[in-house]
Amino acid sequence: MGLNKPTLLAVMLTGCALLTGGHPVFADEEADQDRAARWKQLQESLFPHRQVLDSGGIITVDAPPRALDAALVPVELHMTGKTAVKGVYLVIDDNPAPMAAHFVFGPTADPRDLKLRVRVNAYTNIHAIAETQDGQLHAATQFVKAAGGCSAPAGPDDTAALADMGRMKLRLMGDFNAGKPMQAQLMIRHPNFNGMQMNQVTRYFTPARFIRTIDATYDGAQVFHLDADISLSTDPVITFGFVPRAKGQMKVVAQDSNNATFAHSFDVPGTPPG
């Protein structure tokens, strides 16, 4: 049997047009040295003239070794917090646009834990690269088996997806204590068309339209700035850390590749339920 079962399941349930030319099924047979060569090539193009060091315990990346849904692969980045981190890059080596996300942390951030959901197009290494305050790059790696996530349809109905675009939710995770770091989950309705999904009716590819930047500020001070690309999943969900005060406002501004801006302010801690 030329195809292992989980891959077939992903294909069955995610469904997608084969648009990249390469065939993801046999990508796991790619020798480790090819992956290493690709990573080297990526380092040179993404971080020219800079050295990418090993993780050095500064950062870890966590993703399911075998993705359940290639169009929605949950990725967690953890930083120890011992070394001050300026920002973090997420690189999905074998995606058509490997640089998936670049977070730059602001003064009200707690940069220790980040979660996001990405599309994965082929069996690939995922690299998380922390940039320390002194400008050093430290990379952690996780290999993920997933295929077809980039061209998976965003949803059954493109029109409905666009109609609800820009709706946002912010959920505080765990207990709220003024001055103590906590996690918040930001959800944004956006089809995040990456230009690889075929429009069902016209059989043309739906033009790319995806979230390019997200700025989160808390009472005017930056929590994070995110530069994103076509690899974020439909309806992006980002979980991040910040340090709340007794009362404040989280403002989120997202801009997409059509220069549409979506802004929303949330009271933090917000009104208690009931």
């Binding site: 049997m1 069955m12 997608c16 069902q200 969900v237």
Partner: protein
Amino acid sequence: MSVNRSLSRRDVLLGACACCIPKLTRAATPPPSQTLATDEVASGIYFRRGVDEDATPANDGAIANIGFIVGRDAVAVMDPGGSLVDGQRLRATIRKATSVPIRYVVMSHVHPDHIFGAGAFTEDKPEFVGHALLPNALAQRGEYYRLHLDQILGTGRSGPLITPTMLVKEQDQIDLGGRVLQITAHGNAHTDCDLSVLDRQTGTLLLSDLLFVRRVPSLDGSLKGWLAELTKLKSLGARRAVPGHGPTGVEWPSASRDLERYLDTLQRETRQAIAKGVDIGQAAKTVALSERGKWALFDDYNGHNVTRAYKELEWD
């Protein structure tokens, strides 16, 4: 995109693998003229039980329940099968049973285990009946399914992609001569393009993958939508149903109990996970585990179902 990946090596790899698989498998495969063992689930309705496996070279993709309904003037097929050879065997089975012409081939939804046998029926020039959204789904996924199925079964063995010629938007009827079948296009449920067929004459509902029995359901549409469609289907007054997977004939509506319990559990526990702030990856490992052991292939599909459910419910 700043870095180009070499495609040629992969293409070579693909070519190499595609040509060695058939050598391993073809010798053991029975001919397309072989007939299928079917059950007569109601008068004039014959179904073959699919095996509770995923497609392999050994099973020729014959994993779904497929069959046909015989009328005075016409035969309707539902579904045509999981591969070209599966469809050919279904056709051979029909031709042995009756000389009434095959006028309709109902394609219940986009999944390959149900519709890749359609190519076996082109010589009958039937109407290929599909949900109004089936062409869309086929445009998005069909070629991808075909390539992957070819890799499992051997090049060319999946079957051609057949586009439906008769689209059903809400409801329609086909007349087999003294036997009128009511065809319903459902809202987003198992997939976004599910059809069901009601044979009023025998009170039999052909549900394809709107009903799973024993084999774990797979969610590729809407959890809430599926539960809503099941509620409607239960009120139609049908007494028997044919599921897409599982025994060929079951009592209706009681046979929906297990499926509804699974979907309810999936919905309830996914909502609980969302409320508690359990993230999507963790939820996939913990939700609906009480259902494990009650379904074939549970571990292969449940995590994916949870992911789909979570994505749907987290916006409520």
